[in-house]
Symmetry: C2
Subunit: 227 residues, 2 copies
């Protein structure tokens, strides 16, 4: 009765593939057998489809990995809690970590991506929002984002590529655009695009900032233990 696909008898017709189903299946496969087991052929097998059919919903393997990474980040819980900004921040970051721990491949994949997806930016906006609301300066929040990003994700991901082939004006314009949807991240990006010249961040500076933060904290702990 119902419309049959191809040579099927007309009853076991599977529901059509979608980008979401492909990505979800890939995540599932990675969770079960590791990220290396995620190949187009094996993924097709899982979905009862030829490998090449996946390319109608996904541009290529890289696009698939991007989508997987962002989909995982999208599942990070983001309900705010009460309390001062430090408790909020702690809660949010631990939530992110526990999500990533549930997908052991995720941190590695996210780290290999060149630019963050929408969910990732959204998450950064949440974190940035907590810090700005807590009274941290835009500048300090910016540094913190780098430190915490590298803490959670295991690397430091720039919001913009390091490529310097864009002029500051264009970068600033992009940052303004960003602000409409993600005000906190936008504000940070806007500030960075003004001072940094090229809109990028100096990785060396960010690294040293985080390092000094840690060393200073350790000294505090040491002194506290002595006393």
């Amino acid at each position: 009765m119902t419309i049959a696909k191809h040579g099927a008898a007309g009853e076991d017709r599977r529901e059509p593939l979608t980008r979401g189903r492909v990505v979800d299946a890939a995540i599932d496969l990675a969770d079960r057998e590791g990220i290396d087991a995620v190949s187009m052929r094996k993924l097709g097998l899982v979905l009862g489809v030829e490998a090449m059919s996946l390319y109608t919903h996904v541009q290529g393997k890289d696009d698939l990995l991007d989508a997987m990474a962002d989909a995982v980040v999208a599942t990070i819980p983001s309900e705010p809690i009460d309390g001062h900004w430090q408790a909020q921040l702690r809660h949010t970051i631990l939530g992110a970590r526990s999500t990533l721990v549930g997908h052991r491949w995720a941190a590695q994949v996210i780290g290999a991506r060149t630019s963050p997806g929408p969910a990732t930016i959204r998450y950064m906006d949440t974190v940035a929002g907590i810090m700005l609301a807590g009274g941290l300066s835009v500048d300090l929040a910016h540094h913190s984002l780098h430190v915490l990003g590298s803490r959670v994700l295991g690397f430091s991901q720039d919001l913009y590529d390091d490529k310097s082939d864009v002029d500051p004006a264009a970068t600033a314009a992009m940052a303004r655009e960003l602000s409409k949807v993600f005000p906190s991240v936008g504000a940070i990006a806007l500030a960075a695009s003004h001072e940094g010249g090229l809109g990028g961040c100096d990785d060396d500076v960010e690294f040293a900032f985080g390092l000094d933060l840690i060393i200073q904290g350790l000294e505090l702990q040491r002194a506290r233990a002595i006393e």
Copy 2:
């Protein structure tokens, strides 16, 4: 006159391959063309050798990657500087970072490895030594190693696998063995094997420790900016 290999005319005979030459060439190739360009065939091409010949000196691709990672870590400068432990630590970590920045693929590769090589342990021993000499408790030094490790290498690498199929006694024995060559790391491992029960480290605890260190540091910065 000299002994010719195979069909060669007798003069252009290349010097024999060694594990070191293979690894060095692989590092060179990765530096120039990225880690993805490092394939057994391409590496063989660079060395004027068939791909399979590499397997005489390297157990497989994984072994090669392990060796590459450890070789890079081995080039981290380790000359101590004068000053208090904080300056020493800062100097050492920044040195490690600048080495890793020179091999952009390295952090990713190290992160994907399952256990650290000798050079990596040696480096950890240097860092641990600075902290212990600086007056940090073994426990605090242990936590710090985790925080700093994940800061430099972009991940948190356990000294032992998480597998709990070894009894505490054996782990402790291994730690004692380790102490002979690497006293500082050994001391930490020994302490961990006593308290942790299974000799492993609780990743969640380590993560929270580092996170709190950072948050506490940020609050300090915030307050300082206000005043």
